[in-house]
């Protein structure tokens, strides 16, 4: 029964990745909009976009880490 509960918990924890996916799409959509407005700043804006992507991805990995913890730590 513990195995079933662990699997359910891990599956439920993975739902949080949906929000992170929307966030990453948001970051890159802003990149495309701003490069369309001002193409001469493309390199610097891309640097900012990668920074924003890494920070948003961190939240996604918090959720994934919780899923792995639930799945693997409890006896």
């Amino acid at each position: 029964m513990l195995e079933g509960a662990k699997s359910i918990g891990a599956g439920a924890a993975t739902i949080a990745l949906a929000g992170a996916a929307i966030g990453i799409g948001n970051v890159f959509s802003s990149l495309i909009h701003s490069v369309a407005r001002n193409p001469s700043l493309a390199k610097q804006l891309f640097g900012y976009a990668i920074l924003g992507f890494a920070l948003t991805e961190a939240i996604a990995l918090f959720a994934l880490m919780m899923a792995f913890l639930i799945l693997s730590v409890f006896q």
């Binding site: 990668i50 920074l51 992507f53 890494a54 920070l55 991805e57 961190a58 990995l61 918090f62 994934l64 880490m65 792995f68 799945l71 693997s72 730590v73």
Partner: protein, 310 residues
């Protein structure tokens, strides 16, 4: 070995050493059990021979800390563990790289690949430092450069290290990244108090706030400020741990598929294998960008502490 009679335990233990009387072999078994305890090979073999199914290896097993040279002073644990070994190894490699690149009085004028890499790493640090802390020309504000450079090089070389098979990612342990971020946070707070005296506390009160609202705002601002100590550590740790665990799980799938010698599975063999290949590339990218992100966030916190809201 729970729920087994002492008889069965004895028989299993005897089956492990197979009634051999060689001192060296028995000593080896004893050392293994003594050092590694429940994770040792001898224990796993005993379980297997006693008919109890071996525990399914979890993907978190790659993060286990094994003491290589056990040194215990009383109750304190001073052993030389495998994180220590890998930290020293990376330190030695980085120093060797810098030494070989700057031999003969500073390298070539037209840099080769290694020299370009070292120059890139060296040039990366002054930009956030200048931009965040200010003072492009003055040497006063450059005194944080060595600290930030060391932090960046620490994560930059230790994050991708887990991609080498059978090696160990030092930064995928919460204790190590938490120690780093917490001590840097304490350092930043001390620097803030030293530079600005008690004015440092005015950082938590934005300008133009009506007076009755002020106490709530200060209290509310204190919480995110203290959370910064944890957030850098957690970000680095979660990225590394989740990335490596997911690569391990997927490669488990790929290996199981490769081992099933069936025609239908032959077509599906390539799927998980390509996924593992495809995942390794972004894994390296995440390792490097997380080093970048943690360095930039430390520069932002320093900027907040030294130039209050300017």
């Amino acid at each position: 070995m729970v729920n087994r009679s002492p008889d069965e335990v004895l028989r299993a233990a005897e089956a492990v050493h197979e009634s051999s009387n060689e001192i060296a072999f028995l000593e080896c078994l004893l050392n293994d059990l003594h050092i590694n305890g429940v994770e040792s090979e001898a224990f796993a073999e005993t379980l297997f021979l006693a008919g109890q199914a071996p525990t399914i290896p979890s993907p978190l097993e790659q993060f286990s800390i094994l003491p290589l040279i056990p040194m215990n002073i009383g109750h304190l644990y001073f052993s030389f563990t495998n994180p220590s070994l890998f930290m020293l190894l990376t330190l030695g490699l980085v120093l060797l790289l810098v030494h070989f690149v700057t031999k003969n009085g500073g390298g070539n004028s037209v840099p080769n690949a290694w020299q370009s890499l070292v120059e890139l790493i060296y040039d990366f640090v002054p930009n956030p430092v200048n931009e965040q802390i200010g003072g492009l020309s003055g040497n006063v504000k450059q005194k944080f450069s060595p600290r930030i450079s060391v932090t960046f090089t620490f994560s930059f070389f230790r994050n991708p290290q887990g991609m080498i098979p059978y090696s160990f990612t030092v930064t995928s342990h919460f204790l190590i990244t938490l120690g780093l971020s917490f001590s840097i946070f304490i350092g930043i707070t001390l620097v803030g108090f030293q530079r600005n005296g008690l004015h440092f506390l005015s950082f938590s009160l934005p300008a133009g706030v009506p007076l009755p609202l002020a106490p709530f705002l200060v209290l509310l601002e204190l919480i995110p400020h203290c959370f910064r100590a944890l957030s850098s550590g957690i970000r680095l740790f979660a990225n590394m741990m989740a990335g490596h665990s997911s690569v391990k799980i997927l490669s488990g799938f790929a290996w199981t598929m490769l081992c099933m010698n069936d025609l239908f599975y032959f077509i599906g063999d390539l799927g998980p294998l390509f996924i593992v290949l495809a995942l390794t590339g972004p894994e390296l990218g995440v390792a490097i960008s997380q080093a970048h992100v943690s360095t930039i966030s430390i520069c932002i916190y320093l900027n907040d502490a030294t130039n209050l809201h300017q």
